[in-house]
Symmetry: C2
DNA sequence: CAAATGACAAATATTTATTTTTGTCATTTG
DNA sequence: CAAATGACAAAAATAAATATTTGTCATTTG
């Protein structure tokens, strides 16, 4: 037992086991066995199975929001950045859903169990978008208004394209074209009228 | 047995039984018993239990689309009519979901089983909206474009507020304000720039 | 003595046995 | 003879019996 068991190790292994066995068939004993420890040990690191699953969910949600944070810091006009940010968000979600629908469904079910983690995640995303919108307003590019409310409106108006509850409908080949149409409509609402 | 059994009677009774017993607990025998006939008789009117449920689902979906069809024929500007139509659609869905969440969930599960009925329903709704948008374009009120594509974009941009898969989120008291914000954004995209 | 173990009870989940339901059709009814 | 019936087999759902899992904690290990 030279190596002390770390939180990271546990989460990595839990993810592996979840991917192998699925959300329903994964027990704490399975995870402990994969780590080569007794299941009692896991309870010294996480207070419950729910807490363990929540930690995995949070890590997964962070994998979505982290690459988007980079776009906020990008160069470019606010309009370009807003479009890029939305397209990136939509691409991340839709490609995950398309590549491995079962795994995507599993992570969403996992996240669904941690309502607070999701709320924080949505809040993170809208905050990122708010920063871009604020920039656009300060630069005189976007119409002046409450930046967070505008960002929320843009986020919710595009929900069809990134909300996991609507993933079933992303198989339609028209989906990209539909996003373009919605985006066209939104652009006029954002920009200053000339 | 003086009265001949009609399709309407069967559907009325099926709805009653579904409301009483729920989607999972309702059997063809239950419906037959409520009608005072043998279950074999029902198979002379509907080819399967699925066909019976589909007919109920279609009737329910029609109750949503029918009152909206009236708005299309209303007087008023295209913008007013578009707003009224959306607000009415959203109100119908959200009030049903709020008043009796279980019944709402049941009818949605029922409809979910009949993919084609749903597709037809969505198509109906977008066709209604297309008619209003077309009017707006012909009257020089809306920017000229493919009316159906614009109508689809408006419909999908407001999905958060009427798509039954997102009903869980309608409990938020902010939901009406969020719709207003999205609507504000869309208005600029619809109207001719002055 | 900090970290891990494993025996244990209560809560969950799975399997198996039993019952109900669906859909058909030869027969009955008015 | 059109409409309805009800006995029946196959499929599906439910309930009962069995096994696993979760979470605790007194004990062990290095």
């Amino acid at each position: 037992m030279a190596a002390p068991l770390t939180r990271e190790q546990i989460l990595n292994t839990t993810e592996q086991v979840l991917r192998r066995f699925g959300l329903d068939k994964t027990s704490v004993v399975d995870v402990a066995r994969a780590l080569g420890v007794s299941h009692g040990t896991l309870y010294r690191h996480f207070s419950s199975k729910a807490a363990l699953k929540e930690a995995v969910a949070e890590r997964w949600l962070h994998e979505v929001s982290a690459p988007l944070a980079i776009i906020v810091e990008n160069a470019g006009s606010a309009l370009e950045k807003t479009q890029l940010w939305l397209e990136r968000l939509i691409h991340i979600k839709q490609s995950k859903a398309l590549e491995d629908p079962e795994l995507f469904a599993m992570y969403n079910a996992l996240a669904e169990e941690s309502v607070e983690s999701i709320e924080k995640h949505i809040n993170d995303l809208i905050s990122q978008l708010t920063q871009i919108v604020e920039e656009g307003m300060q630069a005189g590019e976007f119409q002046n208004a409450d930046a967070r409310e505008v960002a929320s409106a843009v986020f919710y108006a595009t929900a069809r394209f990134h909300h996991p509850a609507l993933a079933k409908e992303w198989i339609s080949p028209a989906i990209n074209h539909e996003f373009e149409q919605v985006w066209n409509l939104l652009v006029s609402g954002l920009l200053i009228r000339k």
